[in-house]
C-alpha cells in the first residue's frame, strides 16, 4: 500500500506544482491521475520515486518512508518502482537490448555494468521482457529506428527488468496515435492483473473509463476528485478541465465501439 500525505512541491522559481495532496493506493490497483497539462500529474508521479524532491509531505510504501530514505535506500526502493514516460526516454543511439538491460542497473554488479558486461541471466530476462511486449526481433536495432509504439514497448520492457511492484506511467500514450494507445495500455492492464500496482496519468476520458479501477484528479496542484471512474460524468469532467473543455474521444474507442 502506498500512502501519500500532505504532499507539496514548490519549484525554486516559485511555481506551486502540488499543494497538500493526500491519497492512498492499495496494492493491485490501476489508479489513473487526470488533470490538465501543468496540473501537477508529472510532478506527483516523480515525487513518488523522488526523481523530484517534494518540498514537504510524506510518502509511505507499506511502512517505509520514501521521503526519508537515504540515497542508498532510495536506490533500493527505486529498483522496485518501474517508470514509463511520455517521451519513452530511451537512449536513442543505443540498441534496444542495451536500453532494456539498463532497467536492471539497480541489481547489476556496478563494476561489470560500467564495462557493459551483463550476466547471461539478465540478457535472457531482457529477451523475455521484449518477447512479452512482442518486439523480441528488434533487440539489436537502434532504439531510434523503432516506431513510437515500439519505443514505448521498449520502455515497458525496461520497467519490467526491475521486477517492479509498482509501475508509474507518466502519460504513456500521449505521444502516440490513439490507435496505439490501447495496445500500450493493454500491456499495463495485463501487468496490473498479474498483481502489480499501476499509477498512470492519462488525458483521454474514454481511456480512463476503460482501464482505471480508481481515479484521482488534480487541478492546479490540488486534488479535486477521488473516486471510481464511472463517477466522472460530463459535469465532473468540465469541473476538472474547465468550462471550455471539450471531450476528445480517442479514435480507436470510436472504432471499437
Amino acid at each position: 500500500m502506498l500512502r501519500i500525505e500532505n504532499l507539496t512541491k514548490i519549484y525554486p522559481n516559485g511555481t506551486r506544482a502540488l499543494h497538500d495532496v493526500s491519497f492512498e493506493v492499495q496494492d493491485g490497483e490501476f489508479l489513473v491521475v487526470i488533470g490538465l497539462s501543468g496540473s501537477g500529474k508529472s510532478t506527483l508521479l516523480r515525487c513518488i520515486n523522488r526523481l523530484i524532491e517534494p518540498t514537504s509531505g510524506k510518502i509511505f510504501w507499506d511502512d517505509i518512508d520514501i521521503t526519508a530514505a537515504s540515497p542508498a535506500e532510495l536506490r533500493h526502493i527505486r529498483r522496485h518502482i518501474g517508470m514509463v514516460f511520455q517521451q519513452f526516454n530511451l537512449v536513442k543511439r543505443s540498441s534496444v537490448m542495451t536500453n532494456v538491460l539498463s532497467g536492471r542497473l539497480g541489481y547489476a554488479n556496478p563494476w561489470l555494468s560500467l564495462l557493459g558486461i551483463w550476466p547471461a541471466a539478465d540478457k535472457e530476462m531482457a529477451l523475455k521482457a521484449l518477447e512479452r511486449v512482442g518486439i523480441a526481433d528488434k533487440a539489436q536495432s537502434r532504439a531510434d529506428a523503432l516506431s513510437g509504439g515500439q519505443q514505448q514497448r521498449v520502455g515497458i520492457a525496461r520497467a519490467l527488468m526491475q521486477d517492479p511492484k509498482i509501475i508509474l506511467a507518466d502519460e504513456p500514450v500521449a505521444s502516440l496515435d490513439p490507435v496505439l494507445s490501447h495496445s500500450i495500455l493493454q500491456y499495463l492492464e495485463q501487468l496490473n492483473k498479474d498483481g502489480l500496482t499501476v499509477i498512470c496519468s492519462l488525458h483521454f476520458l474514454d481511456l480512463v473509463h476503460r482501464y482505471a479501477t480508481r481515479v484521482i484528479a488534480l487541478k492546479d496542484g490540488v486534488k479535486v476528485f477521488e473516486g471510481l471512474p464511472k463517477e466522472i460524468d460530463r459535469a465532473k469532467f468540465k469541473e476538472i478541465y474547465g468550462e471550455e473543455a471539450q471531450e476528445v474521444r480517442a479514435a480507436s474507442f470510436e472504432a471499437e465501439a
Binding site: N49, L51, R75, H76, I77, R78, R79, I81, G82, M83, F85, Q87, F88, N89, L90, V91, K92, R93, S94, T98, S102, G103, R104, L105, G106, Y107, A108, P110, S113, L114, G116, G155, R158, M161, Q162, L168
Partner: protein
Amino acid sequence: MKTKAPKRPSPWLAGALSLLLPGLGQIYARQRYRGGAVLIAFLVVLGMVAWYGQPAWYFAPLGIWLWNVWDAVGQAGERRVSVLIPLLLGLTAAYSIGWQMVRVDFTSANWERGLAVLRPMFRPDLFERRTELNRMWTPISVPCSTTQEAPPARRQDGEKLAFATPDCAGVLETVIVSVSGMWPDTDTEIWWETNIGDDKPLGGNENAPLIVRTDETGSLTTTIRVPSTILIAQPDPTLQLTHRIYFDQRRPIGGLQFSTNGGFVVKGMTESVTMALMATFLAVLLAIPISFLAARNLMSANPFTFAIYVVVRTVLNFVRSIESLILAIVFVIIVGLGPFAGVLALAVHSVAALAKLYSEVIEGIDPGPIEAVRATGANWVQVVRYGVIPQIVPPFTAFTIYRWDINVRSSTVIGMVGGGGIGFYLIQWIALNDMRAVGAAFIAIAIVVMTLDYVSARIRERLV
C-alpha cells in the same frame, strides 16, 4: 507642405519632395522605411563614387535619384514600383569600382604565363619509368701544367673504354672525348664532375645536358668544352687537378617507381596526415575537460561557475579566431622548423574548435534518458555510463573525425611557414619553379583530402 493633409498623398508633391531629397517623397507617402532605405542607398552609392573619384561613375547615384522620383510618384499613387533598377545601378557601380580597384588583368601576358605554369603541372613529377644505368667515365687533368706531364686521360673497364684527347686542357678549351663498348644506338648523357664532386652539364650554354647517341657498335666520339665554372687551384693556378667526364646510358626495364620528387611527395603527405592525427589527438585530450567548463547548462548553476564559463568561452573564441597558419609562425619561432611546430599550431586551434563543438553537444543532451536511468535505481556512475555517455560519444567522435579532416587540409598549408609536412616541400618547389613537382603535390593533396572527406562523411553519417 502639410496645408490640408489630403486623404491620398499627391503624386506631384511626392515627386517634387523626392527630387529635393531622395526618400523624402516616400516618407511623405507614408512609406517611412522605404524612404529611409532609398536615402541610405543613395548616400552609400554617392559616397562610394565620390570616394573613388571617377566622375564617370556618377551616373549610378544620378540614376538612383531619378528612379527615386519615379518611385515617390508611384508610392503616392499606390502603384508598385520595382527596386530592380536601383539595385542593378548600385551593384554595377560597386562591381565596376571593385574591378578597377583590384586591378583585374586578363591580358594575354597573364594567359601565357598561366599556361607556362599550368602545362608542366599536367605532367606531374610523381612516377618515373624504372631504368637501369650503364655508366663509364674517364679522368682528365685541368689545367695543363708547365712542369708536370699529365697522366693519360684514359680508362678501361671490361669491354668499355673511355678516353679524352688531349690528356689535359684549360678552362673553356675544347677536348675530344670518346667511349666504346657501351650499349649500341642509345642516347648517352655526357657530363663533367669536378675534382670536388660538382656536377656540370656540358650541353647548351653549360645549362643543359649534352646527349649524344652511340653508333651500332656502341661507340661515340664528340667534342666538349671544359666548363667555365670549374675552380682553379690557388695560389698556384697551374696546379693540375683530376676531373672526370661521365658517359651515362639509361634504358627502361619495365614498371614504374616513385621519382625523387614523387618520393618527397609521399614523405611529405605522410608527415602531413600524421601531424593532423597527432594534433587532433592532443586537442581531444584537452578539449574534453574544457568542454564541460564551456557547457552553459552545467555551469549556470551559480555565479562562480558561470564566471568560469564566461572566461572559458571568451578564451576559446579568442583562440579560435586565430588561424592555425599564424599560430604556426609563432610556434616555429618557439620550437624551431619542422612538424612539431605544425602539430602545436593545429592542436591549439583544434582545442578551441573542438571544445566549442563538444560543449554544444553537452548543452544539447536529452535529460529524458538520464531521468529514466535514475528511476531504475542506478547509482551516479551508472547514470553517467548509461544515460550520458551513449548520448555524447557518437557526436564527439563525429566532430573529432571532422576536425581531423580539417586538420589534414590545414597541415598541407602549414608547412609553407616552416611547420613541416607537404607544404614544406611545396613552397620550395614553387620557389624553384618546379611546376611538375607542384603538380604531383597537388594530386597527392587532392587524393588524400578527398578520400578523408568521403570516409569522414560516411563515418559521421553512421554516428549522428
